[in-house]
Amino acid sequence: MSTHIEAGGRLAHPDGGDPGGPAGSPRDPRRRGGRAAQSAPSGARSRVRRWIRPARVVLAALVILLAWNLAAPHYPGYVLPAPIDVWTSFTSTWSRGVWIEEVWATLQHLLLAFGIVLVAGLPLGIVIGRSTIAEDLSRVVLVFLQTVPTIVLIALALVVAGASTSSVVGVTVAGSITYFLLNVIQGTRAIDQDLVDMARAYRASEGAIMRTVVLPAVVPYFLAGARITLGVAWQITLFAEYLMGAEGIGFQVSSAIKLLDTKAVFMWGLSVVAMTLVLEYGAFRPAERRLTRHVKKG
């Protein structure tokens, strides 16, 4: 990896050590936790075991909620609002239709940028991964995008397009695409040349090699890259909305804090957390299961 685009410590992309398994993929040993416990003999015991770990997670959440509730009265509301006030902030925002409107604005920014990154990044990453010419030509741009402060991108976007959807989307794409590209490049480089030769020997066209060998081999890296990118894209989108005053959750947070409406800040923060979880379990995990069915299970 060191001979290619310098990844730098800030990137959580899979590193050279294990060509078969990017971070967070089903082959990642960190994801195997608890397997042994789950394959215990069936019956009541195993049913208990299946629930014990989720139950602990819920327990921890309840403890935190309780602690928060106990601590809140000791602080002014603009420092630490009580859980119930945060909830009320949500219901009133919701009933005025503001919640849906603002969330929708942010999701549009986010998903548009994310879609552009995936659609543009996959072919770009594969080309860069397979051709040293493309690698050399793209290097300057990649290093720039990776190192330029997001705040500079935001300032430039403001000059070019004002506080608009295209500004937020553009900044988010520019700020997050390298995370995705580096994963796809890495995956493309890790492709087993023996399999490509096999396909050639059976007279596969370049297009067929792409479809039957290259793309499937890149899938785990694609998924790992997409997951990291979505996390980064959330941050940049909100940041851009906040600083540009563009419609969306980021702007709501900046308005709320100016009025010391801390419960609204909490409410928006928790809303983002909830949506991230929905995307993870509602979209990412199922997609990952579908796309990596062939992978050897621990």
């Binding site: 023996d194 050639r200 020997a201 067929a208």
Partner: protein, 272 residues
């Protein structure tokens, strides 16, 4: 062998030096192979046998000389199948879909593709494992699936790189017989790389004995057992033991030269 027709394959003074290396792996190889012939290549490991198959498959280019490969009857398009030294199955495809791979690239439509792939799987006794993924099979089973992938194509040219190496003796014997009967039935021109002198004698019409690196052809031995042979009768043929001895003696100095750590008495390639 019918020498009246043009050869299916002609190597003319072929040399190969891999890029970024200085020592050639192959020099001055001249070899003609007739349509329908089964030729075994035998030589010490690392001498360039796989390289020779790769040249034929178009996976790498000769540095000097020319290689002519005739098209199948009536067309320029040659159907060739390559069973590699390692299975090279696509991990994300079921075994059946792997066996379909060559047929798919040849444009064979879905239903027929499935039927032929299933037949090939049956031949290698894997028909019950078609729905599994490669990692669920043992090494020997994976190698048989790779063989099925090649056979399913019913190719004009079949390249086999030590295809039975990972198999137990019983399975090997059975598959050797099946291979011979298929190859005869379809008139498949076959190049079989092997470490095993007995295997070469059992199956081949001619045996090409190669020298240690750089690969040259040391001797071409014509096998006198006839094309329609029962493998058991080959073992009983009065020529079998003398030929085996002759090939062994041809290889002995080459094996010693290719690997100085091999004890002169029991080099791996001779211990069959």
């Amino acid at each position: 062998m019918a020498t009246t027709s043009a050869p299916m394959i002609a190597f003319r003074d072929v040399g190969k030096t891999y890029p970024k290396t200085t020592a050639p792996v192959m020099t001055g190889v001249d070899l003609e192979i007739q349509r329908g012939e089964l030729v075994a290549l035998i030589g010490p490991s690392g001498c360039g046998k796989s390289t020779l198959l790769n040249l034929l498959a178009g996976l790498t280019d000769a540095t000097t000389g020319t290689i002519d490969v005739a098209g199948s009857a009536g067309t320029d398009e040659l159907r060739s199948a390559y069973v590699f030294q390692n299975p090279r199955l696509l991990p994300w495809r079921s075994v059946l879909r792997n066996v379909e791979f060559g047929l798919e690239q040849a444009g064979v439509p879905g239903a027929e593709r499935r039927r032929r792939a299933n037949e090939a799987l049956e031949l290698v006794h894997l028909h019950e494992h078609g729905d599994k993924y490669p990692h669920q099979l043992s090494g020997g089973m994976q190698q048989r699936a790779a063989l099925a992938r090649g056979l399913a194509l019913e190719p004009d040219l079949l390249l086999l790189d030590e295809p039975f190496g990972a198999l137990d003796a019983l399975t090997r014997g059975y598959l050797q017989e099946e291979l011979l009967s298929i190859v005869r039935r379809f008139g498949t021109t076959t190049l079989l790389v092997t470490h095993d002198i007995d295997e070469a004698l059992l199956l081949a019409d001619r045996i090409v004995v190669m020298s240690s690196r750089p690969a040259r052809i040391k001797r071409v031995v014509t096998v006198p057992f006839g094309r329609e042979r029962a493998l058991d009768s080959v073992l009983a043929h009065p020529q079998f033991v003398p030929l085996r001895h002759e090939i062994r003696e041809l290889l002995r100095p080459e094996v010693a030269a290719s690997d100085p750590t091999v004890e002169a008495g029991a080099p791996e390639v001779l211990s069959s």
